[in-house]
């Protein structure tokens, strides 16, 4: 359906052609959420030559999706570390504390890499802005990262136990915030697949962080001390998968990019790895060292795949004007229709 009346070889071969679509209607089929009844007539979709309305995120996938992943891993690991510290599971405590410190350091590296140079991270701290999740997050990291490093260092050194205990406890207080604020970070944008999911995204990230931390523990800690990690894996997987299903159900059209192309492949892999890793860990992780390691690796990979899948789905939803136009048209129609 090209809109020009002049074909490529021209009227009677006399005119040059154009490929431009005029007021293009891209003929894509409409998918609605399961069981959802249309309250307003399907909005008609048109666009400016199919060009995106939004500017897509300029973030590098490896840096920012990696940043989201590592934040979750670190935050939940701090909780495991503190719990293990209190309940006297030294191997679990050490692994979780080192894991948190390592993950948060790597995530800072990813952030700085995306910014371009270290001085720019310092520049992030020139103001504190509650309206900017990135500003809140930067301050959070400035508080949290040293605590994890102190907790890990004192544990490894075996000295300054009081300082270590305090650092471990404080890191565990900030940890959950570090794991979930990243959901606000990406949802506070106009990117349809992210913004529309703002209610469930923090829970998805919390669950995914929990499975990642449990995975790390399963992979590295002797079987006898992994009990809490195995239970955290089960609970985290349930939270992650449950809220993710809810999110897809509720966001309607904005969930479509999650089920197409590369994001779809990544998210299916995430699901399989998380479910498989959890089941294997829960069943054999307590006895079999190899099974525990495999389960742990699967959980770590599953959590990463989830972040990359969500990241790419968001970019795809920003690139297609349909996801911006159609829901907004429906909103307008609902507002204008009498009785709405």
């Amino acid at each position: 359906m090209t809109g020009s009346d002049v074909p490529r070889d021209g009227v009677e071969g006399a005119r040059p052609g154009r490929d431009a679509l005029t007021g293009a209607h891209t003929g894509r089929r409409r998918r609605r959420g399961r069981g959802e009844r249309a309250m307003v007539p399907d909005a008609e979709f048109s666009s400016y030559y199919g060009k995106p309305i939004l500017n897509k995120p300029t973030w590098k996938a490896l840096d920012i999706a990696g940043y989201l992943y590592l934040g979750g891993l670190a935050g939940a690991s701090s909780l495991l570390g503190a719990g293990a510290h209190v309940t006297g599971r030294p191997a679990l405590a050490r692994t979780a504390k080192i894991g948190a410190a390592g993950a948060i350091s790597l995530s800072l590296v990813a952030l700085v890499h995306d910014l371009g140079r270290p001085a720019r991270f310092v520049n992030m701290l020139r103001v504190f802005k509650p309206t900017s999740p990135m500003s809140v997050g930067s301050w959070l990291l400035v508080g949290y990262a040293p605590l994890t490093l102190a907790a890990a260092a004192t544990d490894v050194a075996g000295r300054y136990r009081l300082v270590g205990a305090a650092a471990t406890a404080s890191a565990a207080v900030l940890g959950p915030a570090v794991a979930t604020y990243t959901a606000v970070l990406i949802c506070d944008t106009a990117v349809p697949s992210w913004h529309e999911g703002y209610r469930e995204m923090p829970f998805v990230f919390a669950g995914s962080g929990a499975t990642a931390a449990a995975g790390l523990a399963l992979a590295c800690v002797p079987a006898g001390q992994t009990g809490p990690a195995r239970r955290l894996a089960v609970l985290g997987a349930a939270l992650e998968l449950g809220s993710f299903q809810l999110m897809k159900r509720r966001t309607g059209l904005a969930a479509e990019p999650l089920e197409q192309g590369r994001p779809h492949a990544l998210l299916r892999a995430a699901e399989a790895l998380t479910v498989g890793g959890t089941a294997l860990g829960a069943y054999a992780g307590g006895r079999n060292r190899v099974a525990a390691a495999v389960a742990g690796a699967a959980l770590l990979a599953g959590s990463a795949a989830l972040r990359f899948g969500i990241f790419h789905a968001g970019v795809a939803s920003a690139e297609d004007p349909r996801y911006t136009v159609v829901p907004q048209r429906e909103r307008l129609a609902a507002r204008r229709s009498p009785g709405a």
Partner: protein
């Protein structure tokens, strides 16, 4: 864009500037941003019905602001070779070709066999060729004897015809600017004129503002990592000059001035166009009740906004921020609870 009377009444009530709002009407943005005695809010009214697509605004903007070239591309999108707003395109002229009745143009036909002299002799005898003086002066202002108060029929006999829409797009300088709200460094700021400007020496290149803008305006420049957009010629405003694009526009499609005045002018213009039979004419972004609290740069359009590449019902992303933080807090608590639950059973 709604003509909801209750909503308008609500606007009247909110005459005092309210501070730190994330969305909703904000009658005095500059004072709410902390300027004690700010000049009137300035803005653009872009009347696309008179745009001739000359791109003088694009060129003037590049020249004045020393915006680097962004490559010359023949896109096949009519005469549009800049494609959209970005780091290096702060004004963008859209060209839309539509098969809709408008004026007397006919697409898809050759004119080789037209005898122009006989056509000229028929001038003024048919509805498609109303003759000299057919461009209607406003009712009452026409000289005696001239056809007054109406323009030539929009669609003389229902033919399917081509019309060309042209529109010069720009940063909207939103009342509630998502780009400004999410910027972690304070690089984006509200000026005393109520406009939104990036300070290039402070921008961190974090790119957060890029996906936050519901209009797809601000963007990152590839080679320097920082973001750029229209400043509404902040430097020119400071010395009492109008922005370069408005200055260069030959048809006054781009009008610059105090926002209140522009809104009145726009309302009058759209009423006149509608009275003349251009029923598609509508204003876009002028309503303080809309999702971004109204735009500092608004438009008169002749079709739906998305046809021009504009979002139909944009909302400032930070409107939902309090709810987002609440959900994140609940999720954080849940995570802590899960971890605790993991340790409850069988302590060793």
């Amino acid at each position: 864009m709604t003509d909801d009377t209750a909503a308008r009444a609500a606007r009247e009530d909110g005459a005092v500037p309210r501070h730190n709002l994330l969305s909703g009407p904000q009658p005095d943005v500059a004072r709410a941003a902390g300027y004690a005695d700010a000049p009137p809010r300035m803005g653009f009214f872009t009347d696309t019905s008179v745009c001739i697509g000359c791109k003088a605004c694009e060129v003037a903007c590049k020249e004045w602001n020393a915006v680097p070239e962004d490559g010359l591309e023949l896109t096949g999108m009519s005469y549009d070779n800049t494609q959209g707003l970005g780091a290096d395109t702060w004004r963008h002229v859209a060209f839309i070709e539509q098969r809709k009745p408008f004026g007397g143009q006919e697409p898809g036909v050759g004119h080789e066999d037209v005898d122009v002299f006989s056509a000229a002799s028929a001038l003024g005898t048919g509805p498609g060729s109303p003759g000299p003086g057919a461009t209607a002066p406003p009712p009452g202002a026409a000289p005696a004897g001239a056809p007054a108060g109406e323009i030539s029929p929009v669609s003389p006999d229902g033919r399917t015809e081509l019309r060309w829409l042209m529109a010069s797009d720009v940063c909207k300088h939103c009342t509630h600017a998502a780009c400004l709200d999410v910027c972690p460094t304070g690089s984006l700021f509200r000026t005393e004129y109520g406009t939104v400007v990036v300070q290039e020496d402070i921008c961190n290149g974090c790119g957060y503002c890029v996906p936050a803008c519901p209009y797809g305006v601000i963007d990152q420049r590839r080679d320097d990592g920082r973001v750029w957009k229209c400043t509404l010629c902040y430097d020119r405003l400071g010395v009492g000059m109008e922005p370069a694009c408005a200055k260069s526009c030959p048809t006054e499609s781009i009008q610059f001035g105090p926002l209140d005045e522009l809104r009145d002018r726009a309302a009058a213009r759209v009423a006149r166009l509608r009275a003349a039979g251009v029923t598609d004419a509508r204003l876009y972004g002028e309503d303080p009740q809309d999702g971004v609290g109204g735009d500092g740069a608004f438009f008169l359009l002749l079709d739906e906004p998305e046809v021009y590449g504009l979002p139909p019902d944009p909302v400032v992303t930070t409107r939902d921020l309090p709810a987002m933080w609440r959900h994140a807090a609940a999720a954080a608590v849940s995570l802590a609870a899960l971890a605790a639950a993991g340790f409850v059973r069988r302590p060793r």
